[in-house]
């Protein structure tokens, strides 16, 4: 049942493309199908294939769907941390966002893998990662002249 739902969600993509493509105007002289011709063809093909898979689910053993795992445990934390990192990039820029992001995610993963971390080790690793973040910033900004994101505040 969940797999069918998964396929139905997937079918939203070709349906969206088909609807959008129908709205693209085509020049009268254009014999190539216009801006929507090629995407419509591929979307229709994708939709047919999804329907075939949906029909197959009626006589095939049900499949387990991986979905919630993305939002729970270490994976969920990592995903959430990345969202926060993107928000931080917009507000405080690359340097500060990375200085915050790197030690927190790294220490969390270490804690989840090896259990409690001694204070000295925690400080040492935090310093290394902060220095790494600063080094990265200077490498890109100063050495190869690639400007890193600046935030609204910094």
């Amino acid at each position: 049942m969940k797999y069918r739902l998964y396929l139905l969600v997937l079918s939203v993509i070709p349906i969206y493309v088909l609807i959008e493509s129908a709205g693209f105007k085509r020049r009268a002289s254009d014999v190539s199908g216009g801006p929507g011709g090629f995407p419509s063809f591929i979307a229709a093909l994708m939709l047919i294939l999804i329907i075939v898979q949906l029909i197959r689910t009626f006589w095939q053993p049900s499949k387990k769907v991986v979905f919630l795992e993305l939002f729970t445990g270490k994976t969920g934390f990592f995903l959430g941390a990345f969202v926060v990192y993107i928000v931080l990039l917009n507000f405080v820029g690359f340097l500060i966002a990375t200085i915050i992001y790197l030690p927190i995610t790294s220490l969390y993963l270490k804690y989840k893998t090896y259990g409690a971390i001694p204070k000295k080790q925690m400080i040492k690793e935090t310093i290394i990662l902060v220095v790494f973040a600063i080094g990265l910033y200077f490498f890109f900004n100063e050495l190869i002249n690639v400007r890193m994101p600046t935030g609204e505040l910094f």
């Binding site: 997937l10 993509i13 070709p14 969206y16 493309v17 959008e20 493509s21 693209f24 020049r27 254009d30 014999v31 190539s32 199908g33 216009g34 801006p35 090629f38 591929i42 093909l45 994708m46 294939l49 999804i50 075939v52 898979q53 197959r56 499949k63 769907v65 991986v66 795992e69 993305l70 445990g73 270490k74 994976t75 934390f77 990592f78 995903l79 990345f82 969202v83 990192y85 993107i86 990039l89 992001y101 790197l102 995610t105 790294s106 220490l107 993963l109 270490k110 989840k112 893998t113 090896y114 690793e125 790494f132 990265l136 890109f140 190869i144 002249n145 690639v146 400007r147 890193m148 994101p149």
Partner: protein
């Protein structure tokens, strides 16, 4: 005249500059988001004050370094530094995960060297003839090649073939986001003007491969990932060299594919390495082991994508047509030094042509030597504790996405692609076909529409026999045969 150009290569300073250029190229090639054109653009102003031969030699070294550098992060982190290294991840990363990172790197480096060498030799003997061949290619021929490459995807799909086709379609649709290639109409942008230029290939590669892999890794126990012991002995390099005895045909075939794709402007390294990989799998005795660390799966794409370098220089030297952005940057160095390139260059300035051949040869040797020396240090990356490596990889993914057009918006797109990639790969939908669909989809659309505009209808296009038609027929045969064999295998399995 000849002697002056070639004598320049005896100057240790020139060789040192080439080595520096090579290291810059490798560095830019292996960091996702940084690429060969960026490295060339950075080095180009430095070469203004140099002698012409020195300048070209340094730029060629950067170019070769950039092309081969992508394999390092592709093999060690499943993060292809360049689009051309996508196929290298298919077997390179699984091999590294088994504790054979040094072997995988050696296979990649030596294949790159052999591919580059092959293309240089071809360049030396057939520049003008091959350029004429490329000039005969019209939109129908390009369409034929692109459709042929797209049909080869069926050979690469593992598991459920219908799921493979669904993800191929998804990849193609992803390539249609942004302005359409003929009229410039904005498509499927959800109102975000930043999507008008499309979803950059770097975002698709990093999001679907690197970031999705990072998320995938966090599903497992991290210490168990670290427990794979890596064989980091220098002897591995020489031991792996012996494997090339059985890879000669694979190297020659893949390098030929790379050279031809290099000659044809617009097709590029990623398409050539995909086709070479598909061919290697089709002809291998054990095609089922592809995707699990088969050495041929590393040798084929790496031979092909480095051969592209030599191939891409052919239309530039013979016709003055740059086939790719790195070649256009090298071409600009010719202009800056007052050298006009085109058909007359071959007859009037053979010394320049010879200098380029020598520069390509030396660059390939330098690439082999430098990467072999640094091999052990590269391989150590994989032994870094995952709790440190994964957050750093995420930061590099973010940087790579940002650099593509200096926008944090790209990092949000990256996140969405990673989520989609994670949900697809964990539910038996292959990701490799998404990338292939993306790379080839835009080419198929572009050349299909050009063909239709040029001929008026498909009937007109097929009215006369042409090379394009032959490619399309072969593509159809490949598609029908591979689907047929899949259906037979499925029936046998059910019986």
């Amino acid at each position: 005249m000849e002697n002056i150009s070639l004598m320049a290569f005896l100057d240790p300073q020139l060789l040192l500059l080439m080595a520096v250029g090579m290291l810059i190229g490798i560095g830019f090639g292996c960091i996702p988001g940084l690429n060969t054109p960026m490295a060339l653009a950075l080095v180009l102003p430095i070469t203004f004050g140099m002698e012409f031969v020195t300048a070209i030699a340094m730029l060629v070294a950067v170019y070769i370094g950039g092309l081969s550098g992508g394999l390092i992060s592709a093999i060690l982190l499943n993060m292809p530094g360049t689009a051309a290294a996508i196929s290298t991840t298919f077997d390179g990363f699984p091999m590294a995960q088994k504790g054979e990172a040094m072997r995988a790197l050696t296979l990649g480096i030596v294949s790159s060297f052999l591919g580059g060498l092959f293309a240089t030799i071809v360049l030396m003997f057939a520049t003008s003839r091959l350029a004429a061949f490329a000039l005969g290619f019209g939109p129908l021929e390009y369409l034929g090649v692109a459709v042929f490459a797209l049909c080869l995807i069926t050979l690469l799909i593992k598991g459920d073939v219908i799921n493979g086709f669904i993800t191929t379609c998804f990849g193609i649709l992803l390539s249609t986001i942004g302005s359409d290639p003929v009229d410039g109409v904005s498509r499927f942008t959800f109102g975000f003007f930043r999507l008008d230029s499309g979803v950059h290939i770097v975002l698709v590669i990093i999001g679907m491969f690197a970031l999705a892999t990072v998320l995938q890794t966090t599903l497992k126990s991290l210490d168990s990932v670290d427990s794979v012991e890596q064989e980091l002995d220098g002897k591995v390099f020489f031991k792996t060299l012996k494997e090339f005895k059985g890879q000669i045909w694979n190297v020659l075939r893949s390098a030929s594919i790379g050279t031809v794709f290099g000659i044809l402007p617009g097709l590029g390294g990623s398409a050539s390495s995909l086709v070479a990989y598909a061919q290697a799998k089709r002809l291998d005795k054990d095609p089922d082991s592809f995707g699990e660390g088969n050495p041929s799966g590393i040798v084929a794409p790496e031979s092909a994508n480095n051969a592209v370098a030599g191939g891409a220089l052919i239309p530039m030297l013979a016709l003055g047509v740059p086939g790719s952005s790195p070649v256009a940057l090298i071409m600009s160095a010719f202009m800056i030094h007052g050298v006009t390139i085109g058909p007359l260059l071959i007859t009037e300035r053979p010394d320049i042509l010879q200098a380029i051949f020598v520069a390509l040869m030396i660059s390939n040797v330098l690439m082999l030597v430098l990467q072999s020396v640094l091999l052990k240090y590269f391989a150590k990356i994989i032994t870094i504790e995952k709790y440190i490596l994964l957050p750093i990889m995420i930061v590099f993914c973010g940087i790579g996405a940002f650099i593509t057009n200096n926008s944090v918006f790209n990092i949000s797109v990256l996140l969405i692609l990673a989520v989609v990639g994670f949900l697809m790969s964990n539910n038996d939908f292959p990701l490799t076909t998404i990338i292939m669909g993306y790379v080839l989809g835009s080419l198929v659309e572009l050349y299909y529409r050009r063909t239709m505009i040029y001929y008026g209808s498909l009937g007109e296009a097929f009215a006369q026999p042409s090379m394009g038609m032959a490619f399309l027929v072969v593509a159809l045969v490949v598609l029908v045969l591979s689907i047929g064999s899949r259906v037979r295998a499925y029936r046998q399995e059910r019986a």
